[in-house]
């Protein structure tokens, strides 16, 4: 239940909406459990119901209708964009981040990391959460999201790259990376 709530919270960005979404998801799952033929697929099935409910009942009511088109546009951009995004981050930044002496990753507040994740377009945000936080495999995440596994793979690549970029900009704006990397 915690996993469903956490994902709902990141989808809706509202605690009350997240509770409603989970309650609707559980009610739907309970009433249609007979349609789940492979019980080992319970987790991706639950996440699929959650996301379907979000799309049908919550995203339509969102006050930012352009978000969906933005998501689609970003998702359709090619892998060349991934390479270019990765190249934007200097090696010094990466070494600094991974340096056990600076322990940047540990010093970064969870809130800062989650803010960077929340800033990602929805398609990437949800895919990263399902794979990296909830531990779903690419095929399970694909089933939950209703997309081919190849799409999950490309979303992970692009989403994580965007996340790196956001953290690099966060560090740069705070003067952290510049101090150490220059």
């Amino acid at each position: 239940m915690d996993a469903l709530y956490g994902t709902a919270l990141r989808l809706t960005r509202d605690a009350n909406d997240a509770e409603d979404l989970v309650a609707e998801c559980v009610a739907k799952a309970w009433s249609s459990i007979g349609s789940l033929t492979d019980r080992t697929r319970l987790r991706p099935w639950l996440f699929q119901i959650l996301r379907n409910h979000f799309i049908s009942d919550y995203r339509k009511a969102a006050v930012r209708p352009t978000l969906t088109s933005l998501d689609e546009r970003i998702e359709q951009e090619g892998d060349g964009e991934v390479v270019s995004l990765l190249n934007e981050q200097p090696d010094e930044f990466l070494k600094w981040w991974a340096d056990p002496e600076t322990e940047v990753a540990n010093k970064l507040l969870g809130e800062q990391i989650m803010a960077a994740i929340d800033g990602l377009p929805e398609a990437f945000r949800v895919t990263i959460l399902l794979v990296n936080v909830e531990g779903l495999g690419y095929d399970e995440a694909a089933a939950a999201l209703g997309v081919p596994p190849g799409t999950v793979r490309s979303r992970m690549k692009r989403g994580r790259t965007l996340l790196q970029k956001a953290l690099w900009e966060q560090a740069r704006d705070a003067g952290l990376a510049l101090d150490k990397a220059s």
Binding site: Y5, E19, V22, A105, I117, K157
Partner: protein
Amino acid sequence: MSNTKHPTDQPAEVPGGLHHPDGSNHPDHPDHPDHDDIGCLEAIEAFYAYLDGELADPESIAQFEHHMAHCRSCFSRAQMERLLTERMKASARTEAPAALKNRLRNLMKKF
């Protein structure tokens, strides 16, 4: 690097079970591409699938690990991604509120 073990077979001490030949966590030399090296562009293509344990082909895994053992830049990136994933997991865990748990218990009673 000849280790073709799947990354999920090894607890993540370093990215995807990567080890530099000298046994350290940090390559101590800069990029030295050789004829067996797939190069950074191909490594980036397989990067996240490898780290997520989704790269199944042993040859691709071996090629990727070979590149990681010789490319400081990609190795550093892998280190960053591993740390970031750990922090994400720790930060994103959210406990459902008691009110929701009660609501679901009541919901179950109706079925």
